[in-house]
């Protein structure tokens, strides 16, 4: 068992987190702590209309009456909600109109992260390379959104949430909070009160969004939380693919990231939502620091034959607690969930999905691959339910866990509720370690142990990687290798 021995030895020498740098940028902060005045402060900072402030204050009232949930298989000290900044924004240079007016320090950050904020940069590569528009969220605010004009030509609205509240209040009012109600859960409620920015997408009927849309989240400020809110509406027979990426500096304190994402699909519409989450995972040995990623993501397939597909690659965060879900309301609508969750060091992840079948002939598919290494813990928790009206509902679930090392843990907690005789649910799960036989086979053919392990791990997660858009798949594959570097042979 040389492989296992080495695994344990090498966990200590983990590859350093590559995005852990801090940028010194002049920032505006709200006073530390949380109270109704902070909520008013955020709302005022964003020049929000009265109705939005009322909505936030109502959420804050409700949040005060709620208890923090504790059912997930994660352990962390109680969060002191008064010891954090709820608003941190780069100091605004007068009248940002174009990219040239954005603080060069910020541009530098994105350059370092490899995120193209200049439209020409996107095109600078190979001719015919796929393009994608970026909304860059820095701490609490969106700093820039690219390709807005080109998208507007086909009627696609892609902007920051604060801009949407000002420019498209009717759409925001109609949809905000209808998928994830204000008091849905503790963290969603907190988000409703203090959310600062996020992306807003509206795709009009019949439009196939001409490029991938993406948001890049960066937490930079110390002691601050990030609370973004994303709302994507795909009107009848439209299609949009949306990517989300995130990183944060290495710090000793834990930072809270409590986002809410709401997706709405009308008849025949489709949204593909992909996440590559790489928040700072905390110190691998002591477990100090890292992001608490407590996120509520939910899609409402309102229209008949509509479709939502969630793909996530979760490699970062000290604690991940999220369940991207689909409410399959429309007849014949379908939901998909593809997930790779990798935990190493002292990370804890409790993630999965909910597929709620309400309409007839709804279909869902769940493929979850969990990999735990080091002293980490990785839990798949999911719900598949069919209501009495969901005749002909179908679900297929597969969740596989891979354990690397003697001190990690993998759990599978699926809930299946079938309330009618014409639903058909299948679920299978396996938990194993890397097969010694397969390792031996690969190494015997001349691969080093590290290469052999990467080959096997890549094979293990292949089904999910295939679902990612091209440019993300490559990044994700690298990320998988880096996250496990040092932990496996």
């Amino acid at each position: 068992m040389a492989a296992v021995k080495q695994t344990v030895d090498q966990v200590a020498s983990l590859e350093k987190y590559k995005h852990g740098f801090v940028s010194d940028i002049e920032q505006d902060f709200a006073p530390k702590g949380l109270n109704a005045d902070i909520v008013r402060f955020i709302s005022a900072k964003k020049n929000e209309p009265e109705w939005m402030l009322a909505w936030r204050l109502d959420a804050f009232e409700r949040w005060l009456a709620m208890d923090e949930p504790d059912w997930a298989k994660v352990n962390f000290p109680r969060i002191d909600y008064q010891d954090s900044y709820y608003y941190a924004a780069p100091k605004e240079k007068v009248g940002i109109g174009s990219l040239d007016e954005v603080d060069p320090e910020i541009l530098e950050v994105y350059k370092k992260l490899g995120i193209p904020l200049r439209e020409q940069e996107v095109l600078a590569g190979v001719v015919g390379a796929p393009r994608y528009a970026v909304d860059a969220v820095f701490d609490s605010v969106s700093v820039v959104t690219t390709f807005k004009k080109e998208l507007a030509q086909v009627g696609v609205i892609f902007c920051s949430m604060s801009e949407a509240i000002r420019e498209h209040p009717e759409l925001v009012k109609q949809y905000l909070g209808t998928v994830v109600p204000v008091s849905d859960n503790y963290f969603a409620c907190l988000n409703a009160a203090v959310f600062s920015d996020g992306s807003f997408v509206y795709v009009p009927p019949g439009v196939r969004c001409p490029m991938e849309l993406s948001t890049y989240f960066r937490i930079n400020a110390e002691n601050s939380g990030q609370f973004e809110r994303t709302l994507i509406i795909a009107d009848k027979a439209s299609y949009v693919s949306y990517l989300e990426g995130c990183t944060a500096p290495m710090r000793d304190e834990n930072q809270l990231h409590a986002a809410v994402v709401e997706l709405v699909t009308m008849d025949d519409a489709e949204i593909k939502y992909s996440t590559v989450q790489n928040w700072y995972p905390g110190d691998p040995v002591t477990g100090k620091g890292g992001i608490y990623n407590f996120v509520t993501k939910r899609a409402d397939c309102r229209g008949d034959r509509s479709k939502v597909s969630w793909t996530q690659v979760e490699t970062g965060s000290s604690i991940t607690w999220k369940y991207p879900s689909c409410i399959l309301r429309g007849e014949g609508s379908s939901g998909e969930f593809y997930s790779i969750a990798i935990t190493n060091g002292r990370q804890q992840a409790d993630t999965g999905t909910k597929m709620i079948h309400l309409g007839a002939n709804t279909r869902s598919r769940i493929i979850s691959k969990g990999i735990s290494a080091g002293r980490s813990s990785n839990t798949y928790r999911g719900l598949v339910s069919a209501h009495p009206k969901a005749k002909g509902a179908r679900n297929f679930t597969q969740c596989d866990s891979l354990l690397i090392g003697k001190h990690c843990a993998a759990h599978t907690v699926p809930y299946i509720e079938a309330r009618n005789g014409q639903a058909k649910f299948e679920h299978e799960a396996t938990t194993t370690r890397l097969s010694e036989d397969q390792l031996f086979y690969a190494m015997q053919r001349g691969l080093s142990q590290e290469e052999a392990v990467q080959l096997l791990v890549n094979g293990f997660v292949k089904e999910v990687l295939q679902e990612l858009p091209m440019e993300f798949a490559v990044e994700a594959q690298k990320l998988v290798a880096i996250s496990l570097e040092g932990s496996v042979g």
Binding site: V4, P388, L403, A409, R419, F425, T430
Partner: protein, 340 residues
């Protein structure tokens, strides 16, 4: 908080409710507004139990009480254990079963109620090294009964534990087995069958905790829910740190044969060791229409074809019973319930 405490104190606040994660699909507090008075002692004569003719030792508890079964080292026996409820009172029973080293026991356990009783049975089962126990449970409760059976099973290295629970449900019924598994080439088989009709409910809950190397667990639970019945399966396999080379498999498969029946399942794995092989499978659905078509096309009337397919479906579990005579009793019992 426990059902036993609720029966003892007559305090409904002690009953588990659906707010308790472990009881989310078997809500007792929401169902029982007032606990019935304690059951009176029973003086009449009892009809024969389902396994009477097979057993050598007979243990009968009517409306509560304690029983103890000891099997000495190297001995072998066949015991019938009847837990009978007469009337509509509340009562609790306690059963202790001890198998010394190398002892062998076939335990034929039955739950029999005839009214709206509320009862709880606590079993403590201990197997010493090399002991073997096959526990066959037949639960024939009344449709108005509330019945909870909770067994704690302690295995020792090289012991064998086999269990098959067969039930037709009750108003609310929970049959729970918690096994502590030391590994050391000990093996556990924990199977179950539920055949539910009307408004009946049955909950199979099992927890197996592997604490040592080289243990195996194998579970197959199958169920059929008709009318407005509700079948529940909660299975959990825990592999503690260091319990390497554990091999654990769990399968739950259910047929829903009406539009208003419900099946809820939670097959859980909680693994803290890496050199393990654990898997679970779960399927819930309607009967295979193609198989039905095939049978009918060969001249078998629909009702009969359905019964035949259902029998074959659950037959897989019954075939795993080691004791042939008991297998026959269970198979006949199931066939009778399927041919209505």
């Amino acid at each position: 908080m426990s059902v036993a405490a609720a029966i003892r104190t007559r305090d409904v606040g002690e009953l588990p409710s659906r707010r308790d994660e472990d009881w989310r699909w078997t809500d007792l507090r929401g169902l029982i507004r007032v606990l019935p008075a304690p059951s009176e002692s029973f003086a009449g004569t009892l009809a024969a139990g389902p396994f009477d003719r097979l057993a050598i030792d007979h243990h009968v508890l009517v409306n509560g009480g304690d029983a103890r079964i000891d099997v000495a080292a190297g001995k072998k026996t066949l015991a019938a254990l009847r837990l009978v409820s007469r009337g509509a009172g509340a009562h609790a029973s306690r059963v202790t079963i001890n198998l010394a080293a190398g002892a062998r026991l076939r335990l034929l356990e039955s739950y029999e109620s005839d009214g709206a009783s509320v009862c709880q049975t606590a079993l403590t089962i201990t197997l010493a090294e090399g002991a073997a126990l096959e526990r066959i449970v037949l639960a024939e409760d009344h449709e108005d009964a509330v019945s909870v059976s909770q067994a704690e099973v302690r295995l020792s290295p090289t012991s064998d534990f086999g269990q098959t629970i067969v039930t037709s449900g009750a108003r609310r019924q929970r049959i729970e087995t918690r096994a502590s598994h030391p590994g050391g080439r000990a093996s556990a088989r924990m199977d179950g069958v539920y055949l539910l009709a009307g408004k009946r409910h049955a909950d199979h809950t099992t927890v197996v905790t592997h604490d040592g190397v080289d243990g195996t667990t194998n579970q197959l639970i199958k169920g059929v829910a008709r009318d407005q019945a509700r079948g529940v399966f909660q299975g959990k396999i825990v592999v503690s740190e260091g319990a390497d080379r554990t091999d654990a498999r769990m399968g739950h498969h259910a047929l829903i044969l009406s539009d208003r029946a419900e099946v809820d399942a939670k097959p859980e794995l909680e693994i803290y060791a890496d050199d393990v092989s654990c898997a679970h499978g779960n399927t819930v659905g309607a009967m295979d229409e193609e198989a039905l078509f095939y049978a009918r096309q060969r001249g078998i009337p629909e009702a009969e074809a359905r019964a035949m397919l259902t029998e074959a479906f659950i037959g897989q579990v019954i075939d795993r019973i080691w004791f042939e005579d008991a297998r026959r009793v269970v198979r006949n019992w199931a066939a009778e319930r399927l041919r209505v």
